[in-house]
């Protein structure tokens, strides 16, 4: 483990922030771009995970374990969110025979 963690020594904190910002933006793009409800959901997962990575990087940088505990809570929350969200998607499919989100445009008004 020593040799593995020593590889990280020279990576600046900025580069972790860049990586997380880019992946978060890809998630935002996925939400805007696709019409399949499940893929929109997966883009949200991508955003959650980029934030998790950033929290872990800051936790290691500051030497504070609270950040990693917070990531654990976010993972529990994501599991709950996925369970409810996929149940809603299944119900939408059962009622409209499609998971295209444009079918639900009446929710706008």
């Amino acid at each position: 483990m020593e040799s593995l963690t020593s590889t990280i020594q020279a990576v600046p904190l900025n580069h972790y922030i860049f990586l997380s910002a880019i992946i978060f933006s890809i998630g935002v793009m996925g939400v805007l771009l696709r019409r399949n409800a499940i893929i929109i959901f997966m883009s949200v997962e991508l955003m959650l995970n980029s934030v998790n990575l950033l929290l872990t990087a800051f936790s290691v940088y500051r030497g504070d374990a609270a950040g990693q505990v917070f990531v654990f809570f976010i993972m529990a929350l994501a599991a709950a969110e996925v369970a409810v969200g996929l149940a809603i998607i299944v119900m939408i499919y059962r009622n409209t025979n499609s998971i295209d989100i444009n079918v639900l445009n009446r929710l706008k008004w």
Partner: protein
């Protein structure tokens, strides 16, 4: 050091494939690969507990749930309707603007200190368990209630409504 950049490149590459793959099943498989690269990031940061939890909970449970749902509702009949070209362009433009704004505002800070692991026991289960069950005991218990209510809600939402029985 170069390991980090290689894995970071793979993360970005696979996450672009997630949102651009035509077939939703391929999209989920690329998401599995993306999460695997995140696990490697956690191992590089010596956050071993998070690496294992990410591996088991995200790749093992959540993505399998996605895959099951996708196979439950078969989308083989017709492909996903494509958005108009202008909407696509503006979506990519909007996301790109967000990325450029974040990255360029960070660029002005200059190169920060390197991430150095001061305490090698930081991400181990022993240390995290002590923090979790001392300082964060109440949020931990509340999250169990959250999971329970989510489970009940999911079951309620997904069950079919029965035909109301005729009262005798």
């Amino acid at each position: 050091m170069s390991t980090f950049y290689f894995i970071a490149f793979l993360s970005i590459f696979f996450s672009i494939l997630v949102i651009s793959a035509k077939n939703p099943v391929h999209s989920i498989l690329y998401l599995v690969l993306t999460f695997f690269t995140f696990t490697i990031h956690y191992i590089l940061l010596n956050a071993q507990f998070l690496a294992v939890v990410n591996f088991i909970v995200y790749m093992g449970a959540i993505l399998v749930l996605f895959l099951y749902t996708l196979m439950l509702i078969n989308l083989n009949k017709e492909a996903e309707p494509v958005k108009p070209f202008m909407v696509k362009i503006s979506a990519v433009f909007g996301g790109g603007i967000l990325a450029v704004a974040l990255v360029s505002s960070l660029k002005s800070l200059g190169v920060s200190d390197p991430v150095v692991l001061k305490d090698p026991n930081l991400g181990l289960v022993k240390n995290l368990g002590k923090v979790l069950f001392n300082e964060f005991l109440l949020p931990f218990e509340i999250s169990s209630v959250l999971l329970l209510s989510a489970m009940v809600g999911a079951v309620l939402l997904a069950t079919k409504e029965k035909e109301p029985k005729a009262t005798i």
